[in-house]
Symmetry: C2
Subunit: 236 residues, 2 copies
């Protein structure tokens, strides 16, 4: 699957630049503009693109939505407004998150079309799309800024394949060691015996929920060691 | 839980406006700016805020990050760059999506802090945060536009509570009716008997996967009715 971001008749050069930047932020390369109201070399465009100038340099300019249709195997329309068809039935749409799971099953060139800043995609364009994706927004003000709409969709595509870097967590043996230290610590500070059991359970739960990294574990163990030493010294 | 979007020393008025707009897109109201490099009444700010002028009108201006800390019960720092602490261990962070599940368990005022356009949050600010949230991005160009970072985080918070409008699907009885029509249709067009069973199964699977809405069901049934009539007419 190769994805193409398609801006249909965008009005503002700054938006195209912001779109290029966010494409690079999420690892996308192919930008197509259908009949933009500006030149890609306008300062606004270049300024908002920041370190994604090459996406602007390589962007493809087309004259019509139909030309864009010829460039792709699937055309995906986007909307943030729940549109109704001629019979006043809700159109069946994918939510952005669900689409992110579907797109990687597709083969070939997938165009993701974003409409004009004011009117979005026209009905006749939507009719030519293979599927329609909705970005959920508040009913009170559903209309997203163009680059924000692109941002969310590409973020969803990126995240659906993202594997977080692993932080090494303290393992079971280490946690047990910490609970032992905590017991010693309670002894050292003469914690009341009748309260011990409950406090021990509470500590175990707190540490369990906190999911300590190895480094956090070692640092806290150092604190316990010092505390136990200090308390014992005072006992003597 | 009440959420506060906190922009720390933002440089560009347009970004603050774009942030206000996307806050309204996702149903958030409370904006705090710490020591911005511009006035909220600059044209750029008002222009990008579009229909979210009231969020700008009601925004709170503070002089320092410490003042912002006093306004909230939890301070959440955001980053798109995997930061390492003094000991070169990865800091433990929540991914934006995981944070969106956690935040609604919090009670009180939760501040979500976004750093400067160029440097993000400073280390000393991050140290004062109760937790750190990471927006995953490409390693090649991780730095998001400020309003894009806010956009993704608020989108995640919004979506985690979003309930899609239901589209009424064709029910089991209706689908059976359609399979009967399909059988009649195969008869009417003299479809070869030895192929019938497989084609029937195939049709059932295709319709099953397509999850027809009631409206799509009725439209397609109309098509079958006409087709059966036409085929029978030619048979006579």
């Amino acid at each position: 699957m190769e994805a193409f971001v398609i801006l249909v008749e965008p009005k503002y050069a700054g938006n195209a630049g912001a779109v290029a930047r966010v494409m690079k932020n999420f690892g996308f390369k192919n930008l197509i503009l259908v009949n933009p109201a500006f030149s890609l070399n306008e300062d606004e465009c270049r300024k908002f693109a920041m370190h994604a100038q090459e996406i602007i340099d390589n962007a493809e300019l087309l004259d019509s939505f139909d030309e864009a249709l010829e460039k792709v195997d699937y055309m995906v329309g986007t909307t943030s407004i729940e549109s109704r068809d001629d019979k006043h039935h809700l159109r069946k749409v994918f939510l952005a998150r669900d689409f992110a799971k579907e797109i990687y099953k597709m083969e070939g060139r997938v165009g993701i079309a974003f409409g004009r800043e004011d009117y979005g995609l026209l009905n006749e364009e939507i009719k030519k799309c293979d599927l329609l994706v909705k970005i959920p927004t508040s009913d009170e003000y559903p209309s997203l800024n163009l680059s924000h709409a692109v941002c969310i969709l590409l973020y969803e595509l990126f995240v659906s394949k993202y594997e977080p870097r692993e932080v090494l967590l303290a393992d079971g043996r280490e946690k047990e060691k910490m609970y032992e230290f905590f017991d010693e610590f309670l002894d050292a500070i003469n914690y009341p015996v009748y309260k011990k059991e409950n406090t021990r359970i509470l500590f175990r739960r707190v540490i369990g929920r906190a999911m300590l990294s190895k480094w956090e574990y070692h640092t806290l163990m150092g604190v316990f060691k010092k505390a136990i030493q200090a308390a014992r010294r005072n006992k003597q």
